[in-house]
Amino acid sequence: MARFSREKILSDFRQSILVSVWFMLLTFPIMVIRVNTVQKTVQWKWERMLMLGVGVFFLSYIWRYLMERKENRPKDEDKIPWNQRLLSEKKYFYPFISVVFAFSVFLPFFVSEYRVNVLITAMIYVVLGLGLNIVVGLAGLLDLGYVAFYAVGAYSYALLNLHYGINFWLALPIGALLGALFGIILGIPVLRLRGDYLAIVTLGFGEIIRLILENWGKFSKGPSGIANIPKPGIIGLEMNRSQSILFIYYLMIALVIFTIFVVERLQNSRLGRSWVALREDEIACQVMGIDRMRTKLAAFALGATWAGMMGVVFAAKTSFINPASFTFMESAMILSIVVLGGMGSILGVILGALVLILLPEELRAFSQYRMLIFGLSMVLMMVFRPQGIISNVRRSYEYHEPAAAEGD
């Protein structure tokens, strides 16, 4: 193999030297020069430069090794990925799902109240991710304003409760419906566009919703927000603070299961297939008899439904909302969950949400480097595993041939 030839070793060496020299130059001002403003002296820390150089030299070797491995990896198309086997073969699926279920049911008894709260947030993002996955992962419509529908849901509960005293259980479907309605209203003008244009316009719409909430004080109470939103409860059952957190936790488990159930069915339906087809080739899709606008609107509205529903839960959980909770950062976060997890894959999106929400909480010690780690892991992910943590696998069909299959 040419891997150990002389030229290869030399060129590798040269490249790594170059990279490390480049990094030494680049970081020279911040790593080497130390200005002491009190004593008015300049310290030159050359040893740091050397350390950096050596470090980068070895890192570049590791990087090259990883890249090579990635390119030379044999394509094992026939091997079924473990995640697919886990989900499709019953002997793995049922034990797996029951362990996960039991784990999540008993988890709150072993961790602190704060952790339970974080888990609730994570589950909200799981549902949001699964909702956005319909729009981005399946139908291929890049929506950067998804948080708008989240806001619609949250404000519909807050305002309906404030003015009409509507309780949580009624607000949940109303929020979902309003989300869907807004999805359709925004979708009709926006979905005529494709690709980058669609992304920009949805971004704009997301900001418009937030700005309306911020500036239309009479309607939404502006930046000061709405407080004292009641938590969900059951009639005739008084709950204290920790009990109500526990209640929301179990409610969220139910909602996550419900969402997975619905999204899974949608994915493998006539509608789901037409979404994927639309993502693959819009013109061919239309020529095959699929109404482009209707299919896109269905995806947009169904995605927005989950955001609306989660908005209601979010408002109930925090009992205070203001427009600051619905910035573009939220949309970007949810999108990252979908992309990192694996577009179109339910299990992937769930893992993505858990990683992106729980990990930063666990890494509070490194909180100053949070965005750095976040960015770095995104870059590494896109280089080495662009399809996400778990890639979407198309469903395979089994068909038992009747007598009719003799055509060939």
């Binding site: 006539r270 297939r273 080739d281 899709c285 020529v287 095959m288 068909y399 299959a405």
Partner: protein
């Protein structure tokens, strides 16, 4: 052969269709008709407007003027002008593409299943609740799609992603996908492009089988051997104008057609 079939009903009747892109007249007053059970070949040099013709027919571009009438067997004629592509497919006309446009990341079977879309109904609620009606519909989609896949000779590729299929198989899959929409008229845009002689031979058999099942066919093709052998009638386009029409023997001898393909002395001057 053409003589006895010319009595059959028309299924497609196009009258003086014109299409311009800015100053370029891509199609000028083209007339064309297809009768039931007929295979009509559409030929012409590169840039003659053949694919534009298909795109106008299927609603990808709206033609500037002219009438496109689709006549389902035993039904009233439908004017296709201004209809969306998906509506036109619903009326019973399906097509394939010159540069293969399969749904690359879907399996072969799923590609065909998408073709069944316009013949099935299940909506959002149907998908979520999955009642008996949706279940039986879904079953039917799978069995019809599977049969179609088998009929075009791709039975072994059921769960293979479309992009991993060999080239000739992709072309066949496109035909199967188009057939899944239950058309009575099938438009094929250069189905033999890039195929080797054996594959072309098998394709010809397939086209004949499709015709025998009662589907009329309008086919664009550069492979003259193929088109001369399977067409009942041939229409020749050059620079957006119909320059000849007739049975293959007539077309082969036609001066204007030969000139269009090989160039004339005046044309070269």
């Amino acid at each position: 052969m053409a003589g006895e079939e010319s009595m059959a009903e028309k299924v497609l009747d196009i009258r003086s269709m014109t299409m311009t892109f800015g100053g370029l007249k891509a199609l000028q007053e083209v007339d064309l008709s297809v009768r039931q059970g007929e295979i009509v070949g559409l030929i012409g040099p590169n840039g003659a407007g053949k694919t534009t013709f298909f795109n106008c027919l299927t609603g990808v571009y709206p033609p500037d003027s002219g009438d496109i009438l689709l006549i389902p067997p035993d039904k009233k004629a439908i004017r296709l002008n201004g209809l969306k592509p998906n509506k036109i497919t619903e009326k019973g006309m399906a097509r394939t593409f010159q540069n293969i446009r399969l749904f690359q990341n879907m399996t072969a079977l799923e590609n065909i299943m998408v073709g069944r879309h316009c013949r099935t109904r299940a909506g959002v609620l149907g998908a979520i609740l999955k009642g008996p009606h949706t279940r039986s519909e879904e079953k039917e989609i799978v069995s019809i799609s599977y049969t179609l896949l088998h009929n075009v000779g791709l039975g072994q590729f059921v769960n293979e992603q479309a992009k991993n299929l060999p080239y000739g198989a992709q072309r066949r899959l496109e035909i199967a996908r188009a057939l899944a929409t239950d058309p009575f008229l099938l438009l094929l845009d250069e189905p033999a492009a890039g195929m080797n002689p054996q594959e072309t031979e098998r394709l010809m058999d397939l086209i004949q089988t499709i015709r025998k099942s009662g589907v009329s066919i309008l086919i664009i093709e550069h492979d003259m051997r193929l088109i001369m052998r399977i067409s009942d009638r041939i229409v020749v386009l050059d620079h957006g104008v119909k320059i000849a029409e007739g049975i293959p023997e007539e077309i082969r001898k036609n001066e204007m057609v030969i000139n269009a393909y090989l160039g004339t002395d005046e044309g070269a001057a």
